[in-house]
């Protein structure tokens, strides 16, 4: 997926709020932190020297407590807030240097945005809201009606087109906000705490919706959140901010398993690890038996050679199609059965490497090892119940996590 250059690249981004940012900037470069800059100059350090790259098609989450500079960071990308220093490259173009005309062009065609409190225009209907970005581009009425109507279909609100936004529930209003942002077909989507104002149930629904849309539309999304659960759940990668600084950037699994410091560890302490960890991270690589490459005898040899009691069988494309049990295979060989297919059992669980551990707990209870497959369906290895328990036991500081995680999974 990563192309030659990142979609968005921030380099040494600094934002200082206040009257005399240049003095504060100097102080910062001499090693001042947020508190002593505030004390000396009265200026607030919003974003402190952040550099990061966001790849095309990535759902990138920026997570941090309130006041950590997330909104400032995301607003610098489309320059709703003017950065004090540093570069912001979108497709290699430094947006901090473009003029107003070009900036509007970028906002219309490249970067769109979803707001925490929806930011809908209260005097316009739902449809007019969705077509707002298209109107700014100067699209003719009929065309933008059609596109907006289509976008409303996508978010499931087509029958609400002619209502005022205020007559919709919060979740529905944010769907309108999402439709408006998607309608311009801008490849980059900025979402500032887009789901934070919603009830937990609705929020979860919207997260699912976003992930569904993302799997189809493949935009580059910068998603701001103050909720670590949300961040780890939806993010391809997660950046954690503190007092304007970037503390750690990594995949959800890296953040959970490898926190760089106590701050992050404290954050992830209450996270249900079984939800974050993917099956792929604990898979045991084994060599499967390829159907057609030899008789039952050969299979038995391979099994004994690898000291296995059970072994998966794959077809010529690497797709798991059965599982062999050592005792049964032994019986077959002694009674001279050659055909592996007649010996193997086809009743075994198959899980994708990207599935979270929480979702495979209930399969582990059958006692049969699970075949783990990669994205294209090829056999990757096996996971057994003991592997799952071991990984969670190893990772949690608190042993009480295990039964709790188990009980939620079942």
């Amino acid at each position: 997926m990563p192309s030659s250059q990142p979609k968005i690249k921030l380099e040494n981004l600094i934002k200082i709020y206040g009257q005399n940012p240049q003095r504060a900037l100097k102080l910062f470069q001499e090693g001042g932190n947020r508190d002593n800059i505030l004390e000396a100059t009265g200026n607030v350090l919003g974003v402190a020297n952040v550099s990061l790259s966001i790849e095309e098609g990535e759902l990138f989450v920026v997570m941090g407590l309130s006041g950590s500079g997330k909104s400032t960071l995301v607003r610098c990308i489309n320059r709703l807030i003017e950065p004090t220093s540093g570069q912001i490259l979108i497709d290699g173009e430094d947006v901090t240097r473009v003029d107003q005309e070009r900036l509007r062009e970028i906002r219309r065609t490249k970067v769109s945005m979803v707001f925490q409190r929806f930011g809908l225009l209260p005097h316009k209907t739902v449809l007019e809201n969705v077509e707002y970005g298209l109107k700014m581009c100067g699209l003719p009425l009929a065309e933008r009606h059609e596109k907006a109507q289509h976008m409303l279909d996508v978010v499931g609100l087509h029958q609400w087109a002619n209502y005022a936004p205020s007559s919709l529930s919060g979740g529905m209003q944010q769907r309108v906000g999402l439709a408006r942002a998607l309608a311009t077909e801008a490849p980059i989507l900025l979402m500032d705490e887009a789901f934070s104002a919603l009830d937990p149930l609705i929020r979860r629904e919207m997260q699912d919706e976003l992930m569904r849309l993302q799997s189809e539309l493949k935009r580059t999304i910068v998603f701001i959140s103050h909720d670590i659960q949300e961040a780890l759940r939806i993010g391809d990668r997660v950046a954690i901010m503190k007092d304007g600084h970037l503390v750690q950037v990594g995949t959800p699994e890296e953040i959970v398993t490898n926190p760089v410091d106590g701050y992050i560890a404290a954050f992830t302490q209450d996270v249900n690890r079984a939800q974050v960890l993917k099956t792929g991270s604990i898979v045991r690589q084994t060599v499967p038996f390829i159907l057609g490459k030899g008789s039952a005898r050969a299979a038995l040899d391979q099994m004994q050679g690898n000291a296995l009691t059970r072994m998966h069988v794959v077809d010529r494309h690497g797709k798991p199609i059965g599982i062999l049990n050592q005792a049964e295979l032994q019986n077959a060989v002694t009674s001279n059965v050659q055909d592996v297919e007649s010996v193997m059992s086809t009743d075994f669980p198959v899980v994708k490497a990207s599935t979270s551990l929480e979702e495979i707990f209930h399969l582990a209870r059958f006692g049969v090892p699970m075949a783990v497959i990669n994205r294209s369906g090829k056999f990757k290895g096996v996971v057994e119940q003991s592997d799952i328990l071991a990984s969670i036991g190893r990772l949690s500081n608190d042993k009480a996590d295990v039964p709790q995680a188990l009980s939620t999974a079942v």
Partner: protein, 316 residues
Amino acid sequence: MIPDIFNWLFFNQSSQIIPLGDWISAAVAWVVVNFRWVFQLIRIPISHTLNAIEAFLQWLPPILFIAVVVLFAWQFATRKIAILSLFAMVAIGMIGAWTETMTTLSLVIVAVLLCIVVGLPLGIASARNNRAEAIIRPMLDAMQTLPAFVYLVPVVMLFGTGKVPGVIVTFIFAVPPLIRLTNIGIRQVSEETVEAALAFGSTPKQMLWEVQLPLAMPTILAGVNQAIMLALSMVVIASLIAVEGLGQMVNRGIGRLDVGLAAVGGLGIVLMAIVLDRITQNVGKSSQNSLNWRDRGPWGALRKLTSQRRPSVSTP
């Protein structure tokens, strides 16, 4: 010691230390001599508009005028206000103040139009630019607190007497709230809404027309309503510089100690004020009403009637 100095400074002088009054007199005299032609030029469009509107209103049969106002009130305000307007206007006619009312109304209309033409852009400018606001604001303070008699004389010196200077003094008195409320209305548009519009690439012009003006409209209409009310309250003062109409009735009544005549003029002003106030106030409100204007009032009644005959037209 110090009190002595102040006593000397303030009271013991044969003339003022700062002869402000002399300066202003000199300045006005200079402007009159050198720039009277500018003000005579400004006169022309105002005078033409005013004459046309007044001629039209005087020509219009009262019954037609009343019908139009009542239907308008019913459509865009409420039926109650329509009925109120009907009674008020009939009363004006029956106390013998119809002609004067039309004259005054035309002056109010032109003054308020001038307020909108000048005040709206100034209000927008002060909303978008803090420096413009800092300049405009003290001027508005002066316009609102300075007694009208103080600027009556210079206005007459520049424009002469008659209707046009009447419009000008009325304008000076009535425009401040419109500018202030336009400014407030635009500044009150929520930051998130403005930010969202910006994020989708709105130009300043698009921002104004698509977001700021529509959302400020109820406040701006309140400003227009205020301007109308203030314009009406200037009518009597305007009559001092030979403006005809209801104000002149009051003026003459006072001059001849004719209490009746003065009361008739005064009542005319009050009735007109009530009608204009109720209608303009509710036009602003009903636009926020969820019911489409086509479904209300006489138009709605008409539509209902016709759609009963053709029931297939109705939409869900």
